[in-house]
Chain length 162, copies 2
DNA sequence: AGCAATGACTTGCGATTTGCAAGTCATCTT
DNA sequence: AAGATGACTTGCAAATCGCAAGTCATTGCT
């Protein structure tokens, strides 16, 4: 019943604590998918992602849940399905994800449209507010449609308010 | 002799690319130490950190160098010594580090003074500007003295300009 | 000059963690 | 009733990690 010790804390530094929780190659991708791609289920993470193995996925979901970053809720309409959702602690990672996105876009050869991301960088606060708003309203629409595998589905959510 | 392939890229998503480079439990701590603790040498990372093994440290330094995030320069006064420095690509990770710091401070039970970090969160742009300024001027003074093992050494760098 | 110290890494190696592939087991669907 | 689905386990082989110890050029000390 007690929370598992998890990765042992190395120091009291907040950065170190953060990394003890999601300092690996998968956790933040899962959080990204929850935050901006509208993913909810095990299956979606397994397929839509970049090829995470199911055992690793299960492990990461468990860790993130233990850390209080996500919470599973069983679907009422289909009881096989488990819908994962970010907690407030989880949605608070939005700034980190946004900065990773910006950095990766500027410095890695990403095949994502850099201009759009630069726009997001300029209107940082608005983007973050929008992410949070969607989370509060349980809006399942992906914020970054071009990040989703299928580019179709929703358009016209550019928000330029310089 | 050739650069190692490194972790193979999983997708074109900028976030994924970022995590392929420093998505582990140590890389960002090294970058943090370079950025705000004024660390420069292998020895400092090895000791001042939270107990990274020397082989892992060597590996991470190599990876970060290959990724163009840090650059080693041999010390002119002591030729045994190698001084590592962040590249521009590396200093651009400051926003990520700052957000990790803020998140960890708010949500993990860090033993760092939260008020100070909240102040930093409020004056985000100034803090980032200061970090960059110090980097440009090669100012070796730690930005976050309370993060360093010994609390002494430099004071009076609170910058409140609301 | 001679010799111990220092700094930056390697090497060995057992303990974990990853990454497949396959299997389990409750729900749905038809 | 029989076959999908969804969410996970299990079993390993392979890659990493972490710890202790060892290299090997400088440097410092006497």
């Amino acid at each position: 019943m007690g929370a598992k010790p998890g990765p042992k804390r190395r120091s009291g530094c907040p950065v170190s604590i953060s990394l003890d929780i999601f300092g690996d190659r998968w956790s933040l991708l899962i959080i990204r998918d929850l935050m901006v791609r509208g993913f909810r289920t095990f299956r979606e993470f397994e397929r839509g992602g970049e090829g995470i193995a199911s055992n690793i996925l299960a492990d990461r979901l468990q860790r993130l849940e233990t850390a209080g970053i996500i919470r599973p809720e069983s679907d009422k309409d289909d009881r096989r399905r488990v819908n994962y959702r970010l907690t407030e602690k989880g949605i608070d990672l939005a700034p980190v994800l946004l900065d990773l996105l910006i950095w990766g876009s500027r410095h890695g050869e990403a095949d994502a449209p850099c201009e759009i991301i630069e726009e997001m960088a300029e209107s940082r606060e608005q983007v973050l507010a929008e992410v949070r708003r969607r989370w509060e309203h349980r809006d399942p629409n992906p914020l970054l449609p071009w990040l989703s595998g299928s580019a179709e589905g929703s358009r016209s959510q550019r928000k330029k308010r310089k």
